[in-house]
């Protein structure tokens, strides 16, 4: 390769056309609530693990929806259920988290 003295940085734009939806659809089958999040952040705000590790169910779900991985963030989840209690949309976040842990790396 010729060195022109500069390099091209990878585009930081998300191309939704290239997002693989299949795994997210599988997630929606395991937990239908995955599709109805309004991103209010209640789950993250009340999360005891989030306070200590920065974990956020909202962020994980959004990332997965956009075809990015974020599974390692769930490693600190204690399954305490507070997020399920506060979710205004009634999403079963515990089942959501366990389902993500099953099908994503």
């Amino acid at each position: 390769m010729m060195d022109f003295g500069f390099s091209l940085s990878k585009s930081s734009t998300m191309d939704l056309g290239k997002v693989d939806d299949l795994r997210f659809e599988q997630l929606c089958r395991l937990e239908p609530g995955a599709g109805i999040c309004i991103g209010c952040g209640s789950c993250s705000a009340s999360c005891p693990a989030g306070r200590l590790s920065g974990m956020s169910v909202r962020k994980v779900l959004l990332a997965l929806q956009r075809g990015r991985s974020a599974g390692e963030m769930l490693q600190c989840c204690m399954l305490c259920g507070k997020c399920t209690m506060v979710c205004p949309r009634g999403i079963n976040t515990r089942n959501l988290i366990l389902s993500i842990c099953k099908i994503y790396d």
Binding site: P32, G33, S46, P48, A49, R51, L52, S53, G71, E72, L74, Q75, C76, C77, M78, L79, C80, G81, K82, T84, M85, V86, C87, G90, I91, N92, R94, N95, L98, I100, C101, K102, I103, Y104, D105
Partner: protein
């Protein structure tokens, strides 16, 4: 009394003998397999228990009371108890006395195995002895029991059962052959005694016995031998450690499919959950139907009511937790990133350390009332998780993530041990159960707030003024059935207010529907369960609902038509300064 035939044999005994040999062989193999599946220490414990004199007596007494007399069933439902003990005890006595009869009069024939069963065919004039008369009485008792069984099979509501388990084909075959055995025996015996030695009824009797024994290992009737094994294992202290094997398998096999758990299950307020009762879990466990086992296990709220009503003591929640534990996840928790430092500032040496738990962050009344009570009583305390803390580990534990739960417990243990507190005061039953069952906190004692406050009240640290409100106390699952605490909350409320009881209370309490035990039950489907639980409380005609669990509190408050308060709040409101 004389023997009719020198040979003492007729081919009609062959079906019986074949069935008998088959069932004994299968049971022996099954027993050997499950014993082989036990953990080494458990196996040793069990084998030793079989020669321990006290345990031998205990086993014998338990087997007679549970398997023959069905004492627990009597307590639950008298007519079902009558039916089961007539059949089981009656049959047992017929077998016992039959052998005694042969032993007394023809001891040489005892080794034939079939002589006691077909006695009247082979022996003439045997019906006049006391033993024979007693056997006739027991046969009539069994037949009366069978008559009840027939009624129950078709009109179970007459027996107070709204729903019963749906029988499988094999179960039906077993059932009808069992029903046939005793009337056929009666007919055959009466014919023989009247001098009519036609072999047809004897053939039918033998074939019915053979059919019953041949299908037994594949039907719910396996519970008859399995329960005996279960009793010995339970008395030996063997626990469930593997999801489908060892003690879990014995429990699954011991389920008589009576279906008592179906009516008891709070989830069945929504009929969509009928198929998720414990009776179906044991059935699917036996069949090895993994997808259904998973589904049933994940749905359950682990309230423990099925176990509290179960006649043989099948531990539904434990079986499910282990089934969940067998699940494979690609992402596994790693709590090493969560630090347990930051807490060592809590200088609670010589004081109470109060742990309110995650859920109580959402029900601030509880923590504030607990603080207020402690302050008013002059008790020194520190609040460990005032600004939030680590989870106790119970939710991970019930989700079957056992290793991870242990890791989390370790973090909490470090914090609590470091604090030097003499008592860990807990106001959440979910946390309390985990702390008292699975933690090792060294010299720090764990106390649930109702127990501790009651002691404080008895010591005179605070006095309560009786108010006008009438409360009905809801027993939280983890506290009542989980930890056996029923009286202290009632004692405290009784001093602070009038108290009423719901029709289903204490060990029969109906889960609020908010349980963290369920993994897959979604919000939408919990409402019916909560409303059914509230109806039970409303029936007490109380003005307000009291409970001692943040989760029950938040769940009830969502739909209740009257105030819902935590125990601590009620006490705090009625303390006289």
């Amino acid at each position: 009394m004389t023997e009719r035939f020198a040979t003492g044999f007729h081919p009609f005994v062959l079906p019986f003998l074949a069935g008998m040999a088959f069932v004994l062989a299968v049971c022996a193999v099954k027993a050997a397999v499950v014993v082989g599946q036990l953990d080494k220490a458990d196996r040793k414990k069990w084998l030793l228990s079989l020669i321990h004199p006290n345990l031998i007596i205990k086993n014998a007494v338990d087997i007679v009371l549970d398997c023959l007399i069905h004492v627990k069933l009597w307590k639950r439902n008298r007519i079902l108890g009558l039916m089961h003990s007539s059949i089981a005890f009656g049959w047992f006595m017929i077998i016992l006395l039959g052998h005694l009869e042969v032993l007394v009069y023809f001891p040489g024939k005892l080794a034939t195995f079939y002589y006691p069963i077909f006695f009247d065919y082979f022996v003439e004039g045997g019906q006049h002895t006391v033993i024979s008369k007693a056997m006739d009485a027991f046969l009539l008792l069994v037949i009366a029991g069978i008559a009840l069984a027939v009624v129950k099979r078709f009109w179970s509501r007459l027996f107070g059962m709204k729903r019963t388990a749906r029988p499988t084909l094999f179960n039906l075959l077993g059932l009808y052959s069992l029903w046939a055995i005793f009337p056929l025996r009666l007919v055959a015996e009466q014919c023989a005694r009247a001098g009519n030695l036609t072999v047809a009824p004897w053939w039918a009797y033998s074939i019915a016995l053979c059919t019953f024994m041949a299908v037994l290992p594949f039907t719910r009737y396996l519970h008859i031998p399995a329960e005996m094994l279960l009793i010995t294992m339970r008395n030996a202290g063997v626990g469930i450690t593997r999801p489908h094997k060892g003690m879990a398998r014995v429990q699954a096999d011991s389920c008589p499919n009576c279906g008592v758990c179906i009516d008891a299950c709070p989830m069945n307020a929504d009929t969509a959950n009928l198929k998720n009762s414990t009776v179906y879990l044991t059935r699917q466990l036996r069949r090895g139907n993994e997808p259904r086992v998973r589904e049933i296990s994940d749905k359950c709220m682990l309230c423990g009511k099925c176990t509290s009503v179960c006649q043989v003591g099948v531990d539904g929640p434990k079986l499910r937790i282990l089934a969940r534990a067998a699940r494979k996840y690609r992402i596994t928790p790693d709590f090493s990133r969560i630090s347990s430092d930051g807490y060592d500032t809590y200088w609670a040496s010589g004081k109470i350390l109060y742990f309110s738990g995650c859920m109580s962050q959402l029900t601030p009344n509880i923590g504030r009332s607990v603080e207020s009570i402690l302050r008013k009583s002059g008790v020194r305390y520190e609040w460990m998780d005032r600004d939030g803390g680590l989870c106790c580990g119970r939710p991970l534990h019930t989700a079957g993530r056992l290793k991870e739960a242990a890791a989390l417990r370790k973090k909490n243990e470090e914090i609590i041990r470091k604090s030097g507190a003499h008592t860990l005061l807990v106001s959440c039953p979910i946390c309390y159960r985990e702390f008292s069952e699975s933690y090792d906190l060294g010299s720090t004692k764990v106390a649930f707030y109702s127990e501790y406050f009651r002691k404080m009240m008895d010591k005179g640290l605070f006095t309560l003024e009786k108010g006008d409100t009438c409360y009905v106390y809801h027993d939280p699952c983890e506290l009542g059935r989980g930890c056996g605490i029923y009286d202290s909350p009632r004692a405290l409320i009784g001093k602070a207010a009038a108290i009423a009881e719901a029709p289903k209370n204490r060990a029969e309490s109906v889960c609020c529907g908010g349980s963290l035990g369920s993994l897959s039950l979604d919000f939408e489907h919990r409402e019916k369960i909560t409303r059914a639980s509230l109806e039970n409380l409303y029936a007490s005609k109380a003005d307000a609902i009291a409970t001692a669990c943040p989760l029950c509190l938040a769940t009830f408050a969502r739909y209740a038509d009257r105030p819902v308060k935590d125990l601590a709040q009620i006490i705090d409101e009625q303390i006289i300064m």
